[in-house]
């Protein structure tokens, strides 16, 4: 039952990633693309955690935490750039 659930979840998250890439390519505004990139990172965390369960390894949570951290810092930097025209003032 667990294996079937993980397979289903892999497919669902892959479709979600494809939809994020569609929004990333279509736009239309820069803020849409930043939001799509942020969501792409969060969905990658979900995919990593699912892969960690399926391969029965706890090594992926540090990677997940790192991805969350980098995604947050990147989104904040891009938003600051849109707001001010510069990242550090």
């Amino acid at each position: 039952m667990l294996n079937a659930a993980i397979e289903i979840a892999f497919v669902l998250v892959a479709v979600a990633l494809a939809l994020n890439i569609y929004r990333l390519l279509v736009g239309p505004d820069t803020t849409d693309r930043i939001l799509a990139l942020d969501t792409l990172g969060i969905n990658t965390i979900a995919l990593l955690v699912l892969y960690g369960i399926s391969s029965n390894s706890t090594a992926y949570f540090e990677v997940a935490l790192l991805l969350a951290l980098l995604g947050f810092v990147g989104t904040v930097a891009l938003c600051k750039y849109l707001l001010r025209g510069d990242i550090s003032e």
Binding site: L35, T58, L69, T75, Y81
Partner: protein, 117 residues
């Protein structure tokens, strides 16, 4: 692992993946940016939270070393940073809309008179 635990973990995984998909459908299909902001900030956060919780339960049951707390760090981090990200994105979009620049360029800097620095 008992059948009941396996059922709970499977249900959390499928539910989490469904919410992740729901957030991305919202991101792809809603008409306006401020509507699109709702999907990833609420549905996707809940979905990833459910997946991480399922993982925490799985590794707590799997290893006989007690409760596994590795997963709770990304969980709390995501739950804290998602509203901050949404707030900053909404602020940036409002700023771009009110300054009348809606494609390509960063927002203009405040005007400076020549010679005054």
């Amino acid at each position: 692992m008992s059948t009941a635990t396996e059922f709970i973990i499977s249900a959390l995984i499928v539910l989490g993946a469904l919410f992740v998909l729901l957030g991305s459908v919202g991101l792809a299909r809603l008409p306006d940016f401020f509507m699109r902001l709702h999907g990833p900030t609420k549905a996707t956060t809940l979905g990833v939270g459910a997946t991480l919780l399922a993982s925490a339960i799985f590794f707590s049951v799997q290893d006989s070393e007690g409760i596994s707390l590795h997963e709770l760090a990304p969980l709390f981090f995501l739950f804290i940073t998602a509203p901050v990200t949404a707030y900053l994105l909404a602020k940036a979009a409002l700023h771009r809309r009110s300054s009348g620049r809606n494609s390509g360029q960063p927002a203009p800097k405040s005007k400076q008179l020549p010679g005054q620095h």
